[in-house]
Amino acid sequence: MLTTMLTKTLTKTLTKTYHAITKNDLQTLLDILNQSYQCVGPTVSEQTLKYSSISKLSQLPLGYIDQQRPGEYQLLHNTDSKDYFSITTGAQGVKPWLFKAQEKLWTVSKQDGRIQFNSQLTDEKPLAIMGLRSCDMAALKLQDQHFLQQQFQDPYYAGHRDNLFIIAVNCHRSTETCFCVSTGDGPEIKEAYDLLLTELEHDFIIQSGSSAGHEVLAILAQQVTLTAVTEQQALEKQQRLNAAAQQSRTLPDRPIAQLLAHRLNHQQWNNIAERCLSCGNCTMVCPSCFCHSEYDEPELDLQTSHHFRQWDSCFASEHSYIAGFHFRKETRQYYRQWLTHKFAFWHEQYGRSGCTGCGRCISWCPAAIDVTEELAILCQETSCHVD
């Protein structure tokens, strides 16, 4: 076992060394990972990108690209393309694998009037996830901060997070709804990965960012040829990252947090409420949203009950309910709650905004509400109806 200091030094040197592998070598990497991990990656399913178990290179979305616009998601297929990772994002990143949409927390059982609680911490095969983007990586850091680095640690999240192996992928294009450059989270991935891939036309550039990543890379080196990255390849990598950095959407270049927090009566909240369906999809696809509710599922014999938690949303009317009273009652308030928490109060709670620019809330909003557009109006220089 390496000491922390040593790991850090080693990690530093390893991130600086990067190699090239051929596209087919990725199959070998998958084989290696599948030996000790449950390996998941991007696949095409239900006309979108979903993370599911992968063992074969052919399961990856070769030649697919995504076209995302407000309230619109479409996959296009280019049979000539040799790229596996051209789809930027699907509706979900790594969140459902760690903070599960539904998870049993414990079971209570009753016998002769005595009750007993048993927690359901599972001991599953560690997860290796391939394909996370810079926005996902930044959001993962936010979820870690929320579930692991506060006063209380969440043992369920921790259980899935421990030994998570991350093969992150640099974006080589952006879709219309991306704005990670504007949030400072992309397109280039700089930390927290085990392995990082940059896809070039013919090869991948691969680099490791942790001791676990280095170990896998060392095994890979025994089975395929890791070549030194040529100047040409380095140039191509830069060009591809530059291409990904071309994004048309941005957040307003204004102190969003302060402005939002003091514009609670802005006319635009009403304007949004006319279009917003209060469906909560934005919160369901947001990679940093963490709200969840708890509930019981009793067995019919009433001797056993299973206690679950599931994703909740600040758009749900029960979210603000106590003893006969709803603190928030209408769509205007629901949307404002979401936006002000994410872009204003988050700063004081977690030291930064809760948005990593993935654009999912824009694409997956069935009413096509564009958060960057709304923020631009809410944060305009001369704004009337300000409280």
């Binding site: 007993q116 006063q151 640690q153 708890e294």
Partner: protein, 278 residues
């Protein structure tokens, strides 16, 4: 191995005392001796009580922190879970997690005048403070208890208020919005009681509990009477499911009420307090 803050402990019902038809005090003891010995709380903190098959609910602790092995909760049976908790009998077992949240600043207020201002039924979160002060009377200055209820029949612990009123250097002022002839206290709102009570505003601490509209009006009165915002403490209520700052329901501005509160120094929450939709 992490301890699991989501997992309840087993609590045994020692007593279930009805206060009114829909308010009751549930006395619990932790079943596991090791857990019971480790359990300690401060006035103002709360527990999550769990009914098997039904659910969990946050309930503030009203007993004295020195009585290590009994934990009292005064509960109004208004919700899904509390109505079932009301049916518990002595010897029954139930789930309990806690204590959670912040507490009243008991250490900081020694020798000061303490104003306890409450509205609505019961106001269990401050009863523990009153009992705490009464038990350690010499440590504190003047004790002023102000309580407003909607209807004079709603007042619980009537005898207890009489007993407190009889204590040295203690004043009790009660107001009811609607009264019966038997009511020998004031009529009106709790804020109407300020003309009746006396305290040294420069050397006082106010502790507030009740609906936010009532606390908001009370804060205005206190500030007008020369108190500073920092002298005001209050306890807030929000939907809480996890009680450990994870589930997000109780987020209020930059606070989570369950772990940063429920007891707040007023300046901490002032900006978003009693704002519509927060």
């Amino acid at each position: 191995m992490l301890t699991n803050p989501y997992l309840p402990m087993v609590g045994e019902v020692l007593e279930n005392h009805p206060e009114t038809p829909d308010i009751f005090t549930l006395r619990l003891r932790l079943k596991e001796p090791a857990l019971a010995n480790n359990y300690s709380f401060e006035p103002g903190q709360f527990n999550m009580l769990y009914m098997p098959g039904v659910g969990e609910v946050p309930i503030s602790i009203v007993s004295d922190p020195d009585d290590k092995h009994i934990i009292d909760h005064t509960i109004r049976a208004v919700g899904r879970v509390t109505r079932v908790l009301q049916k518990l009998k002595v010897g029954d077992e139930t789930g309990i997690r806690g204590p959670y949240g912040s507490s009243w600043p008991m250490a900081q207020i020694k020798k000061k005048d303490v104003l306890i201002i409450t509205g609505g039924l019961g106001c269990a979160p401050v009863v523990s403070v009153i009992n705490y002060i009464v038990k350690r009377r010499a440590d504190f200055g003047r004790l002023v208890i102000m309580q407003g209820v909607k209807h004079s029949n709603d007042l619980i612990w009537k005898d207890q208020y009489q007993q407190w009123a009889a204590l040295e250097n203690t004043q009790v002022a009660l107001a009811a919005n609607q009264t019966t002839p038997a009511w020998n206290w004031s009529s009106g709102y709790v804020t109407d009681l300020f003309d009746e009570v006396c305290f040294d505003s420069a050397n006082s601490i106010a502790m507030l509990c009740g609906p936010e509209i009532m606390m908001s009006a009370t804060i205005r009165e206190l500030l007008q009477r020369g108190m500073t915002e920092a002298q005001i403490w209050l306890t807030m209520e929000r939907n809480m499911q996890c009680a450990i700052g994870h589930c997000g329901h109780c987020q209020h501005g930059s606070q989570f009420v369950c772990k940063d509160g429920p007891v707040f120094n007023y300046p901490v929450v002032r900006e978003w307090f009693f704002r519509e939709g927060f």
